[in-house]
């Protein structure tokens, strides 16, 4: 579809930075058919816009409140037909190092029109994000894991804020995340979640990770209880989670310490 204009979403938390990109894209329009499909002020806002409309390219800043550009790209990668991503960053030593290390292309602010044009032309050929690499870069920049987890439900992308997750539980192929309100089915592995959120979640059992601040207390199981060695009681929901014999001492110590 050579005559279709390229649909572009601009993501930056600073209004002047968005205006500047819009102006540059306007300047490029005569040479490269394109249209600005929308603007968003952070990753969360961008994802909610993409729920309603399809775009070809997302041009995003890195450092933004709520959800940064790297995490946005990760969630985009889990969409069915992901748009291409172009990162734009002001001089930010850590980001630049991380990108150079992982050979990710990026533009530096202030952005120049020819560079933007080249990036737009190049990016059309390579779509889809590289999940693992982005996760590593994000971890490097933030010093912590993603702020949200994404899950596909009836073709839509749902975001689950990690703050609200009480526990993760592995069942067969899937991992479920439980918040106060409901459960979400995630396409994640428990081991990886445990690594990503080592400071917030605690392994209770081969198949359970619990948020440290969701633990209300512990209870020994009866000797005849085959299911678990003990139980962890939760704050806010009337449920209990099994604790294995192996994790019992460790879990209780850690929960007490935090």
């Amino acid at each position: 579809m050579p005559n279709q204009p390229l649909r572009i979403l601009i993501v930056d938390d600073e209004p002047p930075a968005r205006l500047r990109l819009r102006e540059l894209l306007g300047d490029l329009a005569p040479q490269l058919p394109l249209e600005v499909a929308g603007e968003a002020e952070n990753g969360v806002a961008a994802l909610s816009q993409l729920d309603e409309r399809q775009v070809d390219v997302v041009v995003t800043d890195i450092r933004m409140p709520r959800m940064d550009g790297i995490e946005l790209a990760e969630h985009l990668g889990s969409m069915l037909s992901p748009p291409a991503v172009i990162f734009v960053t002001a001089y930010d030593n850590y980001a630049v190092q991380a990108f150079d290390l992982n050979a990710v292309d990026y533009l530096l602010k202030p952005v120049r029109a020819p560079r933007l044009q080249a990036a737009l032309q190049k990016v059309q050929q390579q779509r889809g994000a590289q999940g693992d690499m982005l996760r590593n870069i994000g971890q490097m920049l933030r010093g912590s894991g993603r702020t949200h987890l994404s899950c596909q439900e009836r073709g839509r992308l749902l975001l689950v804020p990690v703050d609200e997750v009480l526990y993760f539980k592995a069942d067969f192929k899937y991992v479920t995340a439980r918040t106060r309100e409901r459960e979400y089915l995630l396409d994640e592995s428990l081991t990886r979640l445990e690594q990503e959120y080592a400071d917030r979640f605690l392994r209770l059992h081969r198949a359970v990770l619990v948020a440290r601040n969701a633990i209300a207390g512990f209870e020994r199981a009866g000797d005849d209880d085959a299911e678990a060695y003990g139980w962890a009681l939760l704050r806010g929901v009337n449920e209990r989670l099994p604790v294995s014999r192996r994790q019992w001492g460790l879990a209780r110590d850690l929960a007490r310490g935090s």
Binding site: E14, P15, P16, R20, N42, P65, Y91, P110, V111
Partner: protein, 338 residues
């Protein structure tokens, strides 16, 4: 405009009113007494006894000498290096001599007056030599170079973001863009200034306002600032770029990561001979501070130490919802600097 270089370490003689210098003299002289007592002691208890006797003799002339030096600091500073040193030794010798005369009158004295004077002059010479060596390790060339390097650290992140914001304004709001570029230029002039040129407090406040105006361009309503300037001597002189990096830190760590923004509070107050400056910003609970923050704070701390030794302090108060940096500086008005 005449520049006022009052970096204490640029003089040959130490700053006799500096708390750190005074402390080192007291500890140094008593340390020497302790050592001298050791040469005459048999056993720990006897050592302490001898030290107590030495200290009883030492303390009075030591205090007298310190007071004289502190009072005469500016006079001594104006002398040539060698006559300055000679004057310091004379003061020490005179104090020791006075002490000898007093003890003779009380019939406590042993030995002769020349012994007391020689002892006083020797101790003073040793301490003076130590203080000069120490000052040389930190200055003037070394300290100057380090201050230069430390000063020139306005975050590049801020520079490029600001230029980007100005570029966005050029087409739509040319006048605003002009004003913004002027602010950028002033900030960089400040960053490149000779670090031994101290500025009136009012200049640094104006610089912070210019900086915040630039940040407001980018952050708009998200950035709210509350100034609380109480009775402070606006003509008091402080080293350049003491505040701006702290305000920049507050914006970078307190406002930028929050979608709804927040309020930065800047307080200036005076507490007798000290200027107290507090900068606080909201934080989101559990938000960890990045290495960049530690670097900026370490930078200010080091500069405070280079400029004021022990007389300035930087404190950090970290709560769940807020982060506060406060610094205390000795208040020096243009009068005492001239």
């Amino acid at each position: 405009m005449p520049s006022i270089s009052q970096n204490p370490s640029s003089h040959v003689l130490p700053d006799w009113r500096n708390l750190g210098v005074l402390l080192r003299i007291l500890l140094g002289a008593n340390g020497l007494a302790l050592f001298a007592a050791l040469t005459q002691a048999d056993g720990l208890w006897h050592w302490m006894q001898r030290f107590a006797e030495f200290a009883a003799w030492l303390e009075a002339p030591l205090l007298l000498a310190i007071i004289l030096l502190a009072v005469l600091r500016d006079v001594l500073g104006r002398l040539s290096p060698w006559s300055g040193r000679l004057a310091v030794l004379t003061i020490a010798g005179a104090a020791a001599c006075l002490q000898y005369l007093l003890w003779e009158w009380l019939a406590l004295a042993t030995g002769a007056a020349w012994q007391a004077v020689l002892l006083g002059v020797t101790v003073a010479a040793l301490l003076l030599y130590y203080l000069e060596l120490r000052a040389r390790a930190f200055s003037p060339a070394v300290a100057e170079a380090r201050l230069m390097a430390l000063n020139a650290r306005i975050r590049p992140h801020f520079l490029f973001n600001s230029i980007n914001a100005v570029l966005a304004l050029i087409r739509a709001e040319p006048r605003q863009a002009e004003a913004a570029l002027e602010n950028v230029s002033d900030l960089f002039r400040a960053a490149l200034r000779d670090p031994s040129d101290w500025l009136p407090l009012s200049d640094e406040i104006a610089l912070c306002r210019q900086y915040l105006e630039l940040e407001k361009l980018r952050l708009g309503e998200r950035l709210r600032v509350q100034w609380d300037i109480r009775e402070v001597p606006l003509d008091a002189r402080i080293p350049p770029l003491m505040l701006q990096p702290l305000v920049e830190n507050a914006v970078y760590h307190g406002i930028e990561p929050a979608a709804e923004g927040g309020e930065i509070r800047i307080v200036f107050a005076r507490n007798r001979d000290e200027i107290l400056i507090e900068i606080s910003n909201p934080t989101r609970g559990g938000q960890r501070h990045t290495p960049g923050n530690q670097m900026a704070l370490g930078n200010i701390r080091e500069r405070l130490a280079l400029y004021f030794d022990l007389e300035a302090r930087l404190e950090i108060e970290e709560r769940d919802e807020s982060y506060r940096v406060s610094i205390r500086l000795p208040c020096r008005t243009s009068l005492s600097a001239s």
